[in-house]
Symmetry: C2
Subunit: 222 residues, 2 copies
């Protein structure tokens, strides 16, 4: 899809004045979604937070919805990169739960996922936005599925709990915890759940369901 903004010197976004302003606006959009939610994320509110003029939203992004999608892209890319780096190190379900819990805690405390939640919930109010948001959430499910595959794919657990369903549930749980945390500022409830998961995961693994030969290379995730 073509960039909706103005022509920049080179496609790809250098560090010119234009790119700088775009970044200011994207960051401000993220902040505004976090603090005021989708319904409060107007061009004026975002521009005020970015310290620039309201008209620039339309100059650079064409519409508020496009700016919000750019914000969603930015959060999504940053977080998925972070997850990828961390999950590479996990070799067993217990280890996966361990790193996942650490990163989820990071997300919950920083409120990164609020952006996803607000965009999903807000999508209903703007025709066509739903599909755009859905396309940007899909990578999260894919990522979760591959992470789970690489770690439980070769255990008997896999036939009992297909990775696709597990991944769907994991993403859902993640979004729901964010929703509740955001509601009452009660990040503690989510965090203690992560602690519990770390504590229980090894037990599940020990119940005769661990990989038959732990040193086998993980099967290719398709």
């Amino acid at each position: 899809m073509a960039r909706s903004g103005p022509s920049s010197r080179l496609a790809g976004g250098g560090a010119g004045r234009s790119a700088e302003t775009r970044k200011l606006l994207v960051d401000a959009a993220i902040e505004t979604l976090r603090a005021e939610g989708f319904a409060g994320a107007s061009a004026r509110a975002i521009a005020a937070r970015a310290g620039c003029n309201q008209a620039l939203v339309f100059y650079h992004f064409g519409s508020v919805a496009s700016l919000l999608l750019a914000a969603l892209d930015a959060v999504s890319a940053a977080r998925l990169a972070r997850y990828g780096a961390a999950v590479e190190r996990a070799a067993s379900p217990a280890e996966l739960v361990e790193v996942a819990a650490a990163i989820f805690a990071e997300d919950i405390e920083a409120g990164h996922v609020t952006v996803l939640v607000e965009m999903i919930a807000g999508a209903a109010s703007t025709p066509g936005l739903g599909a755009e948001v859905a396309a940007r959430i899909a990578p999260w499910r894919d990522f979760a599925r591959k992470a789970i595959d690489s770690v439980v794919g070769r255990t008997p657990l896999a036939s009992l709990l297909p990775s696709g369903e597990l991944a769907h549930g994991a993403v859902a749980l993640y979004l729901g915890l964010e929703l509740l945390s955001h509601l009452d500022g009660d990040r503690a409830a989510a965090l203690s759940l992560f602690e519990r998961a770390k504590q229980v995961a090894p037990l599940v693994e020990v119940l005769g369901l661990a990989p038959s030969s732990p040193d086998d290379p993980p099967q290719e995730a398709k």
Copy 2:
């Protein structure tokens, strides 16, 4: 808290003209939250769906936010009553999962929980709304905790997974599944997860973690 609307003949809402219109508006508010989300739930949109005038929203409820809270109350009361009736019959974790899955499927297919999700996500945009919404979500967590308590409270599972944390996770998962279902109309993913839960629950129960004496009366939930 006092009724914000006009004085009705008797406190408690008889079946007069006023109560009738109030119900029309509440139902329309629920429908609008489902179809257009929080950001699309304006007084005009709701009144149009109710087939009446926009001014009636303010006459009966004082503000849009109050009407939306009344809608949340209505959904919450109806659904909690439904759950209570169904869960009474469950005596084991597997049975609890069974009835829970059936009712959750009902909710997901009808989109009842969209109302909760939209109100939680939308609360961020209106000062003071967050606390009101939080107070209306609390009963869901309480209900889940008591249901879990009554069924796993006397098993060794209880020390491993405290019912409070489990309940928080259950509500979060529930809200998250609704969020995803609503996004891509993909109710199937949530439903197959419920099927999977029903299939796996008995196995967990059999792993030597079942109630030590199945006929003991369940311990009192505090």
